[in-house]
């Protein structure tokens, strides 16, 4: 889960990292007063969980409170890469002398966190990393030791950052550890012309698996820019991702569902979604899954692909039959059952004999059939 910039900013401030004075507003009429409190001249920044805000016109300088209100009015409601802007942050502008880049990221290969820092922040850090890797320091952190004052100095020296950035590196590590973050990034970290070190913009990605011990970020974190079907599925605890095709896909297990999408795509149709019912799916999960997929107007056919391991195919078939009682099936359903109790599962569906439900015994054959039905529908 990503935090909004203003939330990342508040978090940095809480951990003693200096940030520009700022306020967030949801209504343009509040922007003028906020700007006045901040000294009149402000930067107005769209709060969306996606990059490229600047290029999309989501970051603008306003010379005075009246201009701030006008600018906020322009930016609020704007669509940036499918994300609607619901909040803008008004921040005091700062006079930048130098820009730096600092972050901690997970290094999957090494199984630990890595400090990435560069004296050339601000611009596209990936570009710098690709063209001049020597300008970017990458230092693994021993999880047992963490980032001590000495380690912070080591990182700063390696990245040729000024020594006064070391305390920021130390504090940023505390944000990562105490908030269960998978990524903390400050870009740019700046030195102002009057010699202050400020975090001008930042990104924080939290670990959803750690929510049981990180209770402060609640449901308000649901990205309002997200797809309404994704929101509905999330509310039902379903592992669902909306895609832009026509074949609705339900399966058991992340790997098998991903594979199903690929096989359907290989048959000349586009998957409409990813929906993993997980292990030991109940009738309720099956019904919930079907109802989410059937309420997607783009869906022309549905492919249920289950390889029973822990999950028993007869239970899945029972689930489908029960789902047919509660969900009105309007689109063809292609079902492939294999593995644990497949014969019993197939018999249950054969007995129910719903005219829109068709069984195919192989994954490839079922994928082909669901593609054909979607293209015909």
């Amino acid at each position: 889960m990503d935090l909004y910039e203003h939330q990342a900013r508040d978090l940095f401030a809480e951990y003693g990292i200096a940030v520009p004075e700022a306020e967030t507003v949801e209504f343009a009429r509040e922007a003028a007063l906020a700007a006045e409190r901040l000294g009149g001249r402000v930067v107005v920044k769209a709060q969306v969980k996606t990059g490229g805000r600047g290029k999309a016109g989501g970051v603008k300088l306003a010379a005075d409170p009246a201009a701030a209100e006008l600018t906020a009015r322009q930016i609020l409601g704007m669509d940036i890469k499918g994300h609607t802007v619901r909040t803008v942050m008004l921040a005091q502008p700062v006079d930048i002398e130098t820009e730096f880049y600092v972050s901690y990221v997970l290094d999957r290969a090494a199984g630990t966190f890595l400090a990435i820092a560069s004296a050339e922040g601000g611009m596209d850090i990936e570009e710098v990393a690709a063209t001049r890797p020597e300008a970017v320091a990458r230092i693994p952190i021993d999880p047992a030791e963490g980032v001590t004052a000495a380690k912070a100095v080591e990182i700063a020296v390696a990245a040729q950052l000024p020594p006064e950035t070391a305390p920021v590196l130390e504090s940023l590590w505390q944000v990562l550890i105490r908030e269960d973050a998978l990524l903390v990034e400050v870009n740019p970290l700046v030195r102002t012309t009057d010699g202050r070190i400020l975090a001008l913009d930042g990104k924080v990605t939290l670990d959803d698996n750690a929510q049981f011990r990180q209770s402060r970020w609640g449901d308000e974190q649901q990205d309002p820019g997200a797809d309404p079907l994704e929101a509905a599925a999330a509310a039902k605890g379903l592992n669902y991702v909306k895609l832009d095709g026509e074949v609705g896909i339900i399966g058991n297990g992340a790997g098998l569902v991903m594979s199903t999408l690929d096989v359907v795509a290989g048959c000349g149709a586009r998957p409409a979604n990813f929906l993993d019912i997980g292990g030991g799916a109940s009738a309720q999960v099956m019904a919930d899954g079907l109802s989410v997929i059937l309420s997607d107007p783009d869906v022309k056919s549905v492919f249920v692909n289950v390889f029973g391991g822990i999950t028993a195919c007869d239970a899945v078939a029972d689930g489908i039959v029960q789902a047919l009682e509660t969900v009105r099936l309007t689109k063809p359903l292609v079902v492939r059952l294999d593995g644990n109790n497949a014969a019993r599962g197939r018999a249950i569906l054969a007995d129910r004999a719903h005219p829109l439900v068709e069984q195919v015994t192989t994954m490839d054959g079922a994928a082909r059939q669901s593609a054909v039905l979607a293209n015909a529908g």
């Binding site: 999957r108 290969a109 199984g111 990936e126 698996n209 992340a254 790997g255 096989v263 391991g309």
Partner: protein
């Protein structure tokens, strides 16, 4: 032979007395696994009856090892307590810890993996189905009845269900071992570790490698294959249609920027001489073709 797990393996189950632990301990016993004990500090000294077989419960992994000579532990402990459970197993000097638990915070996994690295303990997982050496032993949740026949294929996979799918399709040939390494961003045993073990295993003739989007584990495995693996490898990668920035079920299955795509992984494997199937069934056919050639 087999890798990491044989009929000699003596298996403890941490979290055996929980619902998942009970269900899967029963299945492991049915598959022939020598489950020698459970671990639960609050139920130490008791035992659990599985169809006439009494499995003792120990207060700690160390007690279980002392009493039984256990060398493998399977961890079903819930996420908030999983880190402590794994570290306890490492402290007790267990040889192999198979962490089934799903939803362990990444910071916890980073800590216990680093801790295990400084020890003799191999970790498989977390968030994995475990591993099976058909006809010998089963440590985890892989349904043993998919492929009961010991055989010549070694399989390593990030995905549980794709492990099952490929085992099913290749059940006539059978497996030396099948290892599900887990779909989390940070896992203990990697594709490379399994490739090395299968390469050294005289009973393994061909290796099936299943990967998915996210990270660069498959690219690194490809480089390793080019350098070190002489046995034929057949690959499969899931997630060609996954869009950028969306997590596809597994915590580690996400394409970020230009990295972690299925296409890049497939290319890297093919460049190392690995034949890569475009569907699970085509992958199985490639294996059958290859086995027919060598037979």
């Amino acid at each position: 032979m087999a890798i990491f797990l044989t009929k000699e393996s003596k298996v403890l189950v941490q979290g055996m007395t929980g619902a998942e632990g009970m269900k899967h301990t029963r299945r492991m016993l049915e598959a022939g696994t020598d489950v020698v004990g459970g671990v639960n500090p609050r139920k130490a000294g008791k035992s659990v009856d599985f169809d006439g077989r009494a499995v003792p419960v120990f207060g700690s992994v160390a007690d279980g090892i002392a009493a039984t000579g256990a060398d493998v532990t399977v961890v079903f402990v819930p996420p908030p307590f999983a880190k402590a459970a794994v570290m306890e197993a490492v402290d007790a000097g267990i040889g192999l810890a198979v962490v089934i638990t799903e939803g362990i915070p990444v910071h916890d996994a980073v800590v216990f993996q680093a801790y295990a690295e400084k020890s003799e303990t191999r970790i498989i997982g977390p968030n994995c189905p475990g591993l099976i050496s058909p006809g010998q032993s089963n440590a985890g949740i892989i349904p043993a009845d998919i492929a009961t026949k010991p055989g010549r294929i070694g399989l390593v996979s990030k995905s549980g269900t794709l492990t099952y799918q490929l085992m099913y399709e290749l059940r006539e040939i059978g497996f030396s071992s099948a290892v599900g390494i887990g779909g989390d961003p940070v896992v203990g045993t990697t594709h490379i570790d399994c490739l090395a073990a299968f390469e050294a295993d005289p009973d393994t003739e061909l290796i099936v490698l299943i990967g998915e989007i996210g990270g660069d584990a498959e690219e690194r495995a490809a480089a390793y294959i080019a350098e070190h693996v002489t046995k034929p490898v057949v690959g499969y990668i899931a997630g060609f249609t996954a869009p950028e920035g969306k997590t596809m079920g597994h915590a580690g299955a996400i394409v970020s920027g230009s990295s972690g795509t299925a296409e890049a992984k497939k290319k890297a494997l093919e460049a190392s001489g690995v034949r890569v199937g475009s569907t699970p069934s085509e992958t199985a056919r490639l294996v059958l073709d290859r086995i027919a050639i060598t037979a």
